[in-house]
């Protein structure tokens, strides 16, 4: 079973072994509105926790997407570059952004659980 955790920057992170998949939450895509452009990190790029490494633009505005933990990008989702509307249609599924190998897989548990993320949304 692959556990999904969340960041306060409205990203979801799903762990499979030491590789994590990152996307934006449904709440985030809803707040952004129609996504029209996505820029993703290239495989091989080393990212620090909290580093801006992708861009998502809706009709209204551009937003950064941050690496929730430190690691190295292994793959990105070219399908959302070609069809950015996928991010709205399936934020937590086919609309994933990138996969990266965590420098320290144990750091995964420092991220928010689903219950904690939901509680965090209540405070927003």
């Amino acid at each position: 079973m692959h556990e999904t955790r969340y960041s306060k920057d409205h990203e979801w992170i799903r762990l499979d072994g030491d590789v994590a998949t990152v996307g934006i939450t449904d709440h985030a895509q809803e707040a952004l509105g129609d996504v029209v452009f996505v820029e993703l990190p290239e495989p091989g790029r080393a990212v620090d926790a909290g580093e801006a490494c992708a861009v998502v633009e809706s009709i209204k505005a551009a937003s950064d997407v941050y690496a929730p933990l430190a690691g190295t990008v292994t793959e990105h989702n070219a399908a959302i570059v070609d069809d950015p509307a996928k991010v709205n249609a399936a934020a937590s599924g086919d609309g994933w952004f990138f996969k990266f190998k965590l420098s320290d897989p144990t750091a995964f548990t420092t991220l928010l659980t689903e219950a904690e993320y939901k509680a965090f949304l209540e405070t927003q």
Binding site: H10, L32, V36, F37, V55, S58, I59, K60, A61
Partner: protein, 383 residues
């Protein structure tokens, strides 16, 4: 990613505020007003359109949309000398404006800058009707009061609402509700009831589509809006799509594409200078504008098409092929009806030709783009 907080406290509201919220609007502060930026439609309206900037924009181009623009400033100039007095403050031909006609013009400064852009309608020999930008109301009305002679009085109309109906099906809807409006030519103005509601209508708008702008008393705004929304062609549209529609139409947004530091010549608005006014050069900033017409303006407003998919937003710097900074984007975003990013901005005059190649600095990286003709989407005004 930051959420958009609801900073709608301490804001003015329009007479349609409750209706917007009932329809599922996301309200945002704009020019001191709580305004709908987009809608999450429910119930019957959701069957017409799912809502959101993209869908609302496309619905307006395909059918018709209703926009609440009650935040804009409405006022009358009373007096037999009203037209002559206003002409002393604008480059447009106001004396030549016929009764029942409206014209786009500019309040200009002695330095040739643009104080505001506005619509002027002639309702009678001794009455002009003005519509000015919400954020410039106070500045404009103070400017007018300072410069008008005692024989001309300015009457503000804070008690009036303004509703725009825009889109290719706007005229067929009005043919049912208000036949005299449907018979108006482009920039024609009339006073006629819509379903019994007294209204002043003009054949004008800010989307590039055929349509109407309807001024009614504040208490009549909601009944009129509900009557319009009963028509199956019409959905309400927020400020988000209003902005993308006007950008595709190549129309300026005050405070972004034009302001007190841009002249009408630089802004590509030379056409607002009336033929007769060009003989007299008797309006504020005339000498500065004449100098730019004779010797060339240092920069001009142009359309810009980024070559890739990345939108270039307001504030993005524009660079010449040799790398020198050559201008700035003043409006930019994704154009739903073009299916690509578009922008407008000011560039150095050696780069203004259509097809000229430029580089846009987007997030620190150069993005190739080229100068493109405007409008980006063809105007479909009634003839």
């Amino acid at each position: 990613m930051a959420d958009t907080p609801d900073h709608t406290n301490n804001l003015h509201t329009t007479p349609l505020d409750a209706l917007h919220r009932e329809l599922g609007a996301r309200m945002v502060p704009f020019a001191g007003y709580a305004m709908p930026v987009q809608y999450d439609f429910r119930d019957a309206m959701a069957a017409r359109c799912k809502g959101g900037v993209l869908a609302e924009h496309l619905h307006c181009r395909a059918s018709a949309g209703m926009f609440d623009v009650s935040h804009m400033g409405q006022a009358s100039l009373h007096g037999a000398e009203a037209a002559a007095a206003l002409e002393r403050l604008v480059p447009g031909d106001i004396l030549g404006l016929r009764q029942g006609r409206q014209r786009y013009t500019l309040l200009t400064s002695p330095a040739g800058g643009i104080i505001d852009d506005l619509m002027v309608a002639k309702l009678a020999e001794d009455r002009l009707f003005l519509v000015v930008n919400a954020a410039r109301k106070d500045v404009d009305f103070a400017h007018l009061r300072t410069h008008l002679p005692a024989s001309v009085t300015l009457e503000e109309h804070p008690d009036r609402a303004l509703i725009a109906l825009q889109g290719p099906l706007a005229a067929s809807v009005m043919a049912k509700l208000c036949p005299p409006a449907a018979a108006l030519p482009f920039l024609g103005v009339t006073i006629a009831p819509i379903g019994g509601i007294p209204a002043m209508l003009s054949r004008s708008g800010y989307t590039g589509e055929d349509g109407f702008e309807i001024s009614v008393s504040a208490p009549d705004a909601e009944p009129l809006a509900r009557l319009l929304l009963e028509q199956p062609e019409i959905i309400p549209i927020g400020l988000g799509a209003r902005d993308s529609l006007r950008l595709e139409a190549g129309l300026c947004l005050y405070g972004h594409d034009i302001d007190e530091t841009t002249t009408p010549i630089e802004a590509g608005l030379t056409w607002v200078i009336g033929k007769r006014r060009k003989m007299e050069w008797s309006f504020p900033g005339a000498m500065a504008m004449r100098d730019q017409l004779d010797n060339g303006a240092p920069r001009l407003r142009v359309g810009i098409r980024p070559d890739g998919r990345a939108p270039a937003r307001e504030g993005t710097t524009i660079h010449a092929p040799d790398g020198t900074e050559a201008g700035r984007i003043t409006s930019g975003g994704f154009a739903p009806s073009v299916g690509a990013p578009i922008a407008m901005g000011y560039v150095r005059r050696d780069l203004v030709a259509d097809g000229s190649t430029v580089q846009l600095m987007v997030r620190g990286k150069p993005v190739p783009a080229h100068i493109a003709p405007m409008p980006f989407h063809p105007h479909r005004y009634v003839r």
